[in-house]
Symmetry: C2
Subunit: 458 residues, 2 copies
């Protein structure tokens, strides 16, 4: 096995999970294959590695990061906990269920810093082009070392695509938008609510981005927030200052016209219109072509490219589960690459995919979505030795979270949940989320007693 | 010759000049070689094809366009006039010397619409990767048809890189910028001054972008404009409301600290910190690696890649001359590709380049810069049958323009110049530039008499 070469594209949660999966096996005494992970950014963490930049990065590559200042987890941390590295192990004390981004980034790093992961990763390196040779059954990947402006190639037996799918903005055109006088950006380039203080902002979209950016802007002082939906409103009871309207039909100057005949004036437009799966480095016959959904077609077990299973995609699903789903995928992928798992024939794989796709097509409610992804992960868990965890309880927590959001979008982050990994009950954050304007790790980890002694912040 | 295949990357002014050059020869009775031009955008015009988008385009590719609403030519149109297609021929009447972007775009299109250029161009197509085979002496270019998500390859005997170099932002980090609460963008993503109305804005940079964006924002109602320079200020007499300060050292919240000890509060930061030459589709040994200057090294006659002269770069210089320089380059490149021009040996080419580089190194004043580029174009003109024009007079106009800007940055666009192609004197625009807030072609081309009958605009 030692001479098998494995290429991983991306060192975010999925790529790191893949490295970690191999290391877990190494800890059991197995030899490591040769692994090289290529990361476009200058650090690991993928989406969780915050950048102040927008558009393109330092070296002119399309920017990976879509996160923003004051981003707090929008689901309970107990639903994404690594089953082999608990929050207790990392923080040594109970913390709240909805930590801010820097705290979750710290947790992701905690697990991987214990290992030699960094030595497998080439940072500031982007994959330019991949080809697959039928004769040698090897992938050739052309890489670009952005820092020294040098291109070169590497050969691999397996290629793991872990480059994410929340980085390429889907940004539809609306008539007149080119003459809108204020800021027009995609959620991908939203970096914080401050610049929208005292403004009337229009968010186009009705998914997580719209919901969360809308609430953040409300919290940080926007004058008004309008969410414009294509098919269905989010439909919860919004506080005064946030409302939903049907889809924008067009703009005239700073006025937006909506399907229901409403017209309103805005200072800024943020398009929360989703992301595209994009793999510019792959020939199109190796590209996963899919919309964002819970079961992209052509991926056996959600990871093996059916036409060529040595090509593995991690984390390409729409996500309730995140870190722990990437882990279960990476462990299964590892076992295939290490010859510990045989795949059935392409035809049998097709039958298995079709079964999932059929169920996926019939999903109607968010509870059904949660159950679908729960069952998908159960299936993966049964295939590897990734430490089991109580998935039914996690599914229950997801459903409770959905209800909490519906009950009150402004306070759901003050709720607490119990870890299925350690049994630890989360501790409420020292400050109600709506009153907490500081998202730093330092502020978050202060004990309440200490906090009382801190002088007032500006 | 018919079977020679020529690939052109980019259908902006340079790529279009190349097509036009071949067509000019065809009009003389020569056969056209096989030409395919690949354009990432959905229309031709390159930088002049305005987009409301920022960051990445419709298909997630880094955005080409850096232009903005209310962009007016910042040099006299008489300095960029095609010598084979005059402004008179296009507009049928004298127009002013500083037209707005849509008017110049119309002019660029006018010449090319007379031809069959469009049939050579594949729009929405980006070059992913180029390789060169020493044995066959052919380039293989892997293309990505963005609209249908399909990759394929083409072989060429010559490859013309005309993809521009004002698209990849150079965006340095300043300590604390990640916590600046307001908008932080590069000039590349600036789309108009309206959103900066009543704000205090900081522009980092002292080149054309900073000067022009600063003046535009001033004109359209910014509360104050500060330009921060690294080495030297622009140093002209600014109107009240615009000022220059030395380089920012760091930010704290919304406060910028400057080298001279000044501290000021800002609402927005626009980085006018220039662009990088970037060719992600080329292996690094074929990449032009240069800063933005008047004579990039390793390009014989400023166009032929010295290590492999079948690889041709157009328009890679810093620019006083623009459209007419691209034309003179494209005509020379054409003659080489058509076997009408032989290049000297690599060593002789090296000597020629060194001569120019040496002079380039000694340039000190902007007048010397103008003379340098004038002489460079004279050299090119002597090598092909591109219609000659009075370059000394154009150089004189450039120098007058430089003086006009120094005299009054707010009124220099009201001056007029005489065409060296037709002898026509420009006609002053019906409205002083500072009072003209509408940059549409329709408004621009109205006759003064008509204009008096237009009702007041909002």
């Amino acid at each position: 096995m030692k001479n098998k070469r494995i290429g991983i594209i991306g060192a975010g949660p999925s790529g790191l999970a893949q490295i970690r999966a191999f290391e877990a096996l190494q800890n059991q005494g197995y030899a490591m294959p040769e692994i090289i992970c290529f990361e476009k950014q200058d650090n690991w963490g993928g989406m969780w590695n915050y950048t102040w930049r927008t558009g393109v990065g330092k070296y002119g590559e399309p920017l990976h990061g879509s996160m923003y200042k004051y981003l707090w987890s929008n689901g309970p941390k107990e639903c994404l906990e690594f089953s082999d590295y608990s929050f207790d192990e990392h923080f040594k004390k109970p913390i709240s269920s909805y930590p801010p981004r820097p705290v979750l980034f710290d947790y992701i790093q905690g697990r991987i810093k214990k290992s030699n992961a960094r030595e497998y990763i080439r940072f500031n390196t982007t994959a330019r082009w991949v080809s697959f040779d039928e004769d040698t059954q090897k992938f050739t990947v052309i890489l670009d070392d952005l820092k020294i402006d040098k291109t070169y190639s590497e050969e691999f037996d397996f290629l793991v695509v872990a480059s994410g799918h929340f980085s390429t903005p889907n940004m539809p055109y609306f008539k007149g938008i080119e003459n809108f006088p204020g800021t027009v950006i995609h959620a991908h380039d939203f970096r914080g609510a401050d610049q929208f203080k005292d403004l009337n902002i229009l968010l186009i979209g009705s998914s997580y981005s719209a919901e969360d950016i809308g609430v953040q802007c409300y919290k940080h002082g926007a004058k008004s927030v309008t969410l414009s939906y294509r098919s269905n409103p989010i439909g919860i009871e919004w506080p005064d200052g946030i409302k939903e309207l049907p889809l924008v039909t067009h703009f005239e100057g700073d006025k937006a016209y909506f399907k229901d005949g409403t017209t309103e004036q805005y200072d800024a437009v943020i398009m929360c219109t989703g992301y595209k799966h994009k793999f510019p480095f792959l020939p199109d016959e190796l590209r996963l072509k899919t919309k964002n959904n819970l079961y992209p077609d052509n991926l056996y077990k959600g990871i093996f490219f059916n036409d060529l299973p040595q090509l593995i995609y991690l984390g390409m699903q729409d996500q309730y589960y995140t870190f722990n789903m990437f882990d279960t995928q990476a462990w299964v992928a590892r076992d295939f690459m290490m010859d510990r798992l045989q795949l059935p024939s392409p035809a049998e794989r097709r039958i298995d995919m079709d079964k999932w796709l059929e169920r996926n097509d019939q999903l109607q409610t968010s509870h059904e979505n949660v159950d679908f992804q729960t069952d998908y992960i159960k299936d993966l868990l049964s295939m590897s030795d990734y430490p089991h965890f109580n998935l039914d309880e996690v599914a229950r927590m997801f459903k409770e979270w959905l209800q909490d959001k519906e009950d009150d979008i402004l306070t759901y982050r003050d709720k607490t949940f119990r870890s299925v990994v350690t049994g630890t009950m989360a501790k409420p954050h020292h400050t109600d989320w709506m009153d907490e304007l500081d998202d730093t790790k330092e502020r978050y980890l202060f004990e309440a007693e200490e906090e009382e002694m801190i002088p007032e912040k500006m």
